[in-house]
Amino acid sequence: MRIIPLKLLITLCTVFLLSGCWDTKDINHRSLPIVMGVAMEDDQYNIHLQIPDPDTDVMQVRIVSETGETVSQAVDKLSANMESRIDLLHVKVIVIEKELAKEGVKDLISGFMRAREVSPKALVVVSDEKIEPFFSNLNNTTDPQGTTLFDFFDKDAGWSPQIALTRVWELYRSIHSTTRDVVLPIIKSGDSTVIQHLGSAVIKNGRMVERIDPEETLLVNAFYEESTHGKVEVMEEATVLIVGNTMDHKSRNIDQVPYLNSQLHLKVVLLETIGKPTDKEIRTALETQLTNRFNEMFSKIQESKADVLGLGQYFRAKIPSEELKKWRSEHYPKLKMEFEVHAVIRNEGQIKLGAD
């Protein structure tokens, strides 16, 4: 029995000596960048990092930049020059310059997924302006924590339903999927607000091919059954607030031509009216407005052969997988889309319709 504590002691000692627990760095010796900006300059990646620098009293935000053959090289150079190690796991937003997005981000995103340095949950955003002015404007914000950009896309904070949310893994998936593309939000630094949202970039195979505006992005989000709660729709007759949305799809494939019938069910709350419209008039106006907007957007993205709505997903069981590989080039342009909106006015507010 006496030998057991001795064995235990030896085991404990070896655990300490062999494990290398001194390799870990405490949180205050790590730099935790929140935003990473990537641009391409003369075949060299230009990396910007926004790093909150916790001081004992005030939080300061630093912007550091470096160029390198690859992202890892640039980060490694930065890490060597900084007083603490850069830990990319906390990067929440990756800002890609528009030029690079147009050129293609396939390798960049594959690198992120492979190295696991950056969380696959990080959001990917396209910057409409050059990375450098974007970051210097971002740094002029008053937010002490430097989380402005992250808060802008945070569903618990500043996100609105007309802003697309696409994560690194979703972008990676879209690059390798035959039936699905993604939209990335396009932003630039604003005049009165820190950030200005300009719409979304349509990304096909990792390359930006088209732009859609915020109103159209709302429909894309509705299509993915993201909550559109809180979006205000203005029509001639009235202004309504969307409080709930669901989608229904029916797909058919007749004579090599795919047909899709999609129905958007909306619940809205009445905010303002102009004149005395009836319940039905308001609903019809809303339905026509959204249907027209959708059809306009759909013809645009269909032309660019980018399936950002993921419509190919509804034909996975109907088209053989060999054929599905040609989905974007052959089937998708032939797709007949029927989009219907059904709106319900859930609440007319304190004043009933036609009361005043």
């Binding site: 405490d26 935790l32 916790p54 830990d87 929440k92």
Partner: protein, 444 residues
């Protein structure tokens, strides 16, 4: 002088509280022998005189009288000595070759029955056990009016005899368990029992077990509840606790007194205790893991504010937390040691050190102070001091594993602790047993 008395005197040489009082009972010269410190001599003599008076009036002989008031024995030195040691009065007559052992009035050497000092109780019966084994068993009998309660006595030890008793409910307690305990006492008849470690040895348990295999309680109401569930209670003379066998993990979270509240309240109190063990085990380890190894798990806002609070702190997280935990253990230990009159001083000094000065001196972060406070408070919610001591020790295992392997290490540590708990068994009954009462009844 009688050689017997001479031998007796020699045996108790330098024992100045021994009295040898010469007296005449019914005109026969006798010697009253006993310990002044154990016997209330005046009261005993008055009562003895009453017996003598009735004996004179009914014309009894001295032999008849002694038979009536005590036990007459042959002159056997060993037995006489042990009778005197246990506080009996000996009446030795010079002429006869016999002596009588009489139960005298004892000096009051026991505490009264008092409220519990180690286990606080809210809205429940307040009497607690004291040092006298008979009082304790009496308390049990008073608490529950049942004819099937059995109290077996054992006397163990070679030099100093210790009285032990085993209480159980006939028909409720597992017969095999009772038999195993009985036989292990009989087998270890010569082993002296002065403390719980001795007792554990006697019962055949390893002394290296972190978790105590006997559950201790000083409340008769709790003990009776355990007995009713088929457990066995052991009493050791001069040890004011009932020792409950077998002991289970679930005992850490339950008190019988909880059942004096409505069921939802009882359930939530027990839930709080479960949170207590989780918090006191996990939080210090999580601090080390999240600060040193896996900061990516934290939300960015939290990560930044932790980084800010740790700014300019010289030690790594492990050293920091070990330093403070050890100071905290010292404070807890010191407040147990100190007399209650200077106890508050320690609390105050400790409070100042932990709460303010250490943070201001930038030795540890403010977050750590919160974590330490939560840990210590949570630890105290567990039932039974022996259990919270064990959890206090397990905490360090997790802290060290967390410092090496991070969150994964915590998981590994929990698996390790769970495996250890699962390995504990008492007389073949697993420590993790949740349904013993029902099974016990079935066996009985």
């Amino acid at each position: 002088m009688d050689p017997f008395i001479k031998e007796l005197k020699e045996k108790f040489v330098h024992s100045d509280d021994l009295f040898l009082h010469e007296e005449e009972i019914l005109d026969v010269p006798v010697l009253l022998v006993g310990f002044k410190s154990l016997i209330d001599f005046t009261k005993t003599k008055v009562t003895l005189q009453k017996y003598i008076d009735t004996a004179i009036s009914s014309q009894k002989t001295i032999g008849e009288l002694l038979n009536e008031i005590g036990e007459v024995k042959e002159k056997d030195l060993e037995e006489a000595v042990s009778s005197i040691m246990t506080g009996k009065l000996l009446i030795i007559s010079n002429s006869h070759r016999k002596y009588a052992v009489i139960e005298p009035f004892h000096n009051m050497l026991n505490r009264a029955i008092e409220p519990p000092t180690n286990e606080n109780i809210l809205q429940g019966s307040l009497s607690s056990f004291n040092e006298d084994i008979k009082t304790n068993i009496g308390l049990i009998r008073k608490q529950i009016n049942a004819s099937n309660i059995r109290a077996e006595f054992f006397s163990v030890g070679s030099e100093q005899k210790t009285k032990l008793s085993m209480l159980y409910f006939e028909g409720q307690a597992d017969k095999k368990l009772v038999e195993k305990i009985r036989s292990s006492f009989e087998k270890n008849q010569d082993r002296e029992i002065n403390n719980l470690q001795n007792l554990a040895k006697s019962l055949g348990f390893s002394g290296w077990s972190v978790i105590s295999k006997v559950n201790t309680t000083e409340l008769p109401s709790e003990t009776v509840a355990f007995l009713r569930k088929g457990r066995v209670a052991l009493f050791v003379d001069r040890y004011p606790f009932a020792l409950i066998l077998p002991c289970f993990l679930w005992d850490m979270f339950t008190l019988e007194n909880d059942r004096n509240y409505p069921i939802p309240l009882m359930a939530s109190i027990r839930l709080v205790r479960i949170f207590g063990i989780l918090i006191s085990l996990l939080i210090p380890a999580l601090y080390v893991a999240l600060v040193a190894v896996n900061p990516e798990v934290l939300r960015i806002e939290l990560a930044l504010s932790i980084a800010q609070s740790r700014e300019a702190i010289p030690y790594p997280a492990l050293v920091e937390i070990l330093l403070m935990l050890i100071i905290l253990e010292l404070i807890i230990e010191a407040s147990v040691r100190l007399p209650s009159s200077i106890g508050p001083t320690i609390t105050m000094v400790g409070g100042i050190i932990l709460g303010q000065a250490v943070v201001e001196a930038k030795l540890v972060s403010t977050l750590l102070i919160i974590i330490l406070a939560a840990t210590t408070i949570a630890n105290s919610t567990l039932v039974g001091i022996q259990n919270s001591l064990a959890v206090r020790l397990f905490k360090y295992v997790l802290v060290i594993l967390a410092s090496i392997y991070g969150v994964l290490g915590i998981l590994g540590g929990i698996v390790l602790i769970s495996a250890y708990l699962a390995s504990i068994e008492t007389f073949g009954i697993s420590y993790l047993n949740l349904n013993y009462a029902k099974e016990g009844t079935k066996n009985g």
